[in-house]
């Protein structure tokens, strides 16, 4: 196997093998929170923290874990970090913690973390594994942040709680202001937005390959 450079790890996680658009992992637990931008941001940060530190831990222990109980050890490591995230959120941002509800706990079953541990951390050195964890977390976060941005903007007409669309509509002469797309806040909006994002990402990727070849 050729030696991996940090830059390759970063590139792969952010675009070429983006966990969401290319590997379609981990959409289970977090599509639900993408209707409000702030919640999504907190969720992305929490997930990045858990992925980075569980990658580091597993990578440090990679030579002493017996292969048979590997999965169980990984799950327990992830669960421990999620407990830390949960307690921190409860202490410092209780409102958001309440809004996220069970979805913080569901970081445990987010396939991205398990996937990175299996595919990368269990066979690479700790520093690279840590970097890979952070970058996979970012690769995941920016996708869900884009989705959340569109959903909150169209659904509530706001970003981070600030009215954006209302003044805009008044400025161009609609006195009624922004009519909220209730559809965007509900589940179907999430499905359609993600499908759209994957579609655009796939088209960009094939476009690039076609030009190279």
């Amino acid at each position: 196997m050729p030696k991996l450079k940090p830059i390759d790890v970063i590139r792969s996680a952010l675009w070429k093998n983006n966990p969401v658009t290319v590997q379609i992992l981990g959409i289970c637990s977090t599509l639900a929170v993408t209707n409000i931008f702030l919640n999504t941001l907190i969720m992305g940060l929490g997930l990045t923290f858990v992925t980075a530190f569980s990658s580091l831990t597993i990578s440090l222990m990679r030579n002493i874990i017996p292969p048979r109980v590997r999965m169980m050890v990984q799950t327990l490591v992830i669960a421990s970090f999620v407990v830390i995230v949960d307690i921190v959120l409860k202490a410092y941002v209780p409102n958001i913690s309440k809004a996220l509800g069970p979805y913080v706990g569901l970081i445990i079953t987010n396939c991205i973390i398990m996937g990175r541990l299996e595919a990368f951390a269990s066979s690479n050195k700790p520093s690279l594994a840590f970097l890979d964890g952070i970058m996979s977390g970012f690769g995941y976060s920016y996708v869900i942040l884009v989705i959340a941005f569109v959903r909150e903007l169209l659904g509530f007409g706001t970003i981070l709680g600030y009215q954006i669309m209302n003044p805009l509509m008044h400025a161009i002469g609609y006195s009624e202001g922004w009519i909220q797309w209730a559809f965007m806040i509900m589940a179907p909006g999430g499905f359609f937005m993600l499908a759209l994002f994957i579609w655009i990402a796939n088209n960009l990727a094939t476009h690039k390959i076609a030009h190279k070849g």
Partner: protein
């Protein structure tokens, strides 16, 4: 949540509060195992079975062990261990008693441990403060709701094989769009029963 009839919760979790189409839980296996109707049915049944049992077990663990000891914050770890152990146990029991069931369900059981729907139902049940009977009905209903969604999707996807789909949407993209349409259809049920 005391007054709510378990049957209301049961039907609501199948239709109006569908665990997959409303709460996005269990998406990973939903996307990857919905290509064939037969396998979808097998996985759906296995999920329903495991959900019913683990929601009962986790209820006991949470309210009779974790809460009296004041260590509720360990619930994530406790739940995931209970789920993994239950899945392993169920696998062994099925293998011993029914060969044909094992061949049909067996391959799906290890997958289920990391299915978000299983952990999600246990977490919802704690947050919504259900009683024991309500929790079990919620687990069974959620499992059936998931089965219904994946079965419908598998049926649609078998037809999709012959249709022309834009290149960038092939695979997960088109499945997500169809899920979105199914979610819209399920919103239509919301007048019947409602939880939360």
């Amino acid at each position: 949540m005391e007054g709510l009839s378990p049957w209301v919760i049961f039907f609501a979790s199948i239709f109006t509060g569908n665990i997959l189409l409303v709460y996005f839980l269990g998406m990973c296996s939903f996307l990857s195992v919905s290509k064939q109707v037969n396998t979808a049915l097998g996985l759906g049944l296995a999920v329903t079975f495991v959900l019913t049992i683990t929601s009962a077990l986790n209820y006991v663990v949470y309210f009779y062990v974790l809460e009296p000891l004041g260590i509720e914050y360990l619930r994530y770890i406790a739940f995931i261990v209970v789920i993994a152990a239950a899945v392993q146990l169920i696998e062994m029991v099925i293998e011993r008693f029914s060969e044909s069931l094992y061949i049909n369900l067996g391959i799906f059981l290890p997958l289920i441990t990391v299915n978000c729907a299983i952990l999600g139902v246990s977490l919802f049940m704690v947050i919504r403060n259900y009683t024991f009977i309500q929790s079990v009905m919620f687990g069974a209903g959620s499992g059936l709701g998931w089965l219904l969604a994946i079965l419908a999707m598998a049926g649609i996807r078998q037809r999709l094989n012959e249709s022309k789909i834009p290149a960038g949407l092939r695979g997960p993209g088109i499945v997500l769009i169809i899920s979105g349409m199914m979610a819209m259809a399920f919103i239509g049920f919301s007048g019947i029963v409602q939880i939360q």
